[in-house]
Symmetry: C2
Subunit: 227 residues, 2 copies
Amino acid sequence: MSTVIPAEKKVLSENQRIANALRAGFEHKHQLCLNLISSPGSGKTTLLETTLAHLPQKDRVAVVTGDLQTENDARRLAVYGFPVQQIVTGGVCHLDGRMIERALALWPDAALDLLFIENVGNLVCPSSYDLGEAAKIVLLSVTEGEDKPLKYPSIFAKAALLIITKIDLLPYVPLDMHAIEANARQVNPSIEIIGLSCKTGQGVGTWLDWLARRRAAMLAQTSRAEV
Amino acid sequence: MSTVIPAEKKVLSENQRIANALRAGFEHKHQLCLNLISSPGSGKTTLLETTLAHLPQKDRVAVVTGDLQTENDARRLAVYGFPVQQIVTGGVCHLDGRMIERALALWPDAALDLLFIENVGNLVCPSSYDLGEAAKIVLLSVTEGEDKPLKYPSIFAKAALLIITKIDLLPYVPLDMHAIEANARQVNPSIEIIGLSCKTGQGVGTWLDWLARRRAAMLAQTSRAEV
């Protein structure tokens, strides 16, 4: 997001058109698409590694991961045997609908049930760009401080789920978990919140349950729509 | 930074014009201006708290701090007795020259030696906007991972100093300090690097020395220019 200028409005409305088409496609194909957003280093890739390691190989899961530079994340994620694509944005600070459209075109025959999009590490700009996802998930590590939902409200207002990561570090950082939760709910009263540590495994089951629930809901919803 | 469009180029070149004027003003008045950039929660405000607590009250220091929402940071910093201004950007993901110009206009008679600008928490977009500073300083906490200079190279390429924060957490996180340093120097061979912890005080003296050296260099440089 840049200084507010008419050209940006145009970019955003063009993006919305593409995102709407992507969303219709996902729903038509019963695919659950989740858009993971956080600052760099909050643990998006690590959460995806943990998640892919827990999902059965028969599950039809794929990942699209964005960074300004390097294919490091795609390399880290590819070892789990699911299809992974890296989007290198150059300088661009967010993924947009067109990038997702292009990435999906490289998997023309892919029968997918679950698509994770790991956005560029940035707590601000990615929140403005709809990618057609069923839900945005925001990650915040316990080292980042409890005030962040109030200081960066846009993504917390739009996310269905807040994952508080690295809770194994709680003994070593001055953080009030209740304050994070209260601040997040002040911005978004209906946001769900899960605390977890990929290092100790604490909370990972709750996250996998959330995922299973959303996948079941997506199937139920799209099946109803077809009746 | 948004999708690359001509309007953005225009915004950036207009910003450069303002930044050049700001820089000329800072140099004319012997003011050292430092632009602190990092993700949210890397410890910019905590570093400024520690710094202000160590600086003599007779020093003519001021802080301009940017956030999308809230005046929390200005409140935290104001207790140290130095002038502080909060810029609330609304949704804008970076500070720009015009915002700094407006902030400085509210201190018309201020005789300053040292101005800290705490940018919006974002490792990407603020790197594109010159604020007339003598140096950009990038902060990265040990919990964010050693690959960040390679994945977000723009700010590491432009910064004079990398401050690696929260080194008290090193025993609890899987981080290779040598790899962070090697990755930062791969992007910017001349970047200076300081590791510190505001919690234990380790490395804070090295940072205060760096600051004193830059202040002395600014005075020497501007005095020479006047001869």
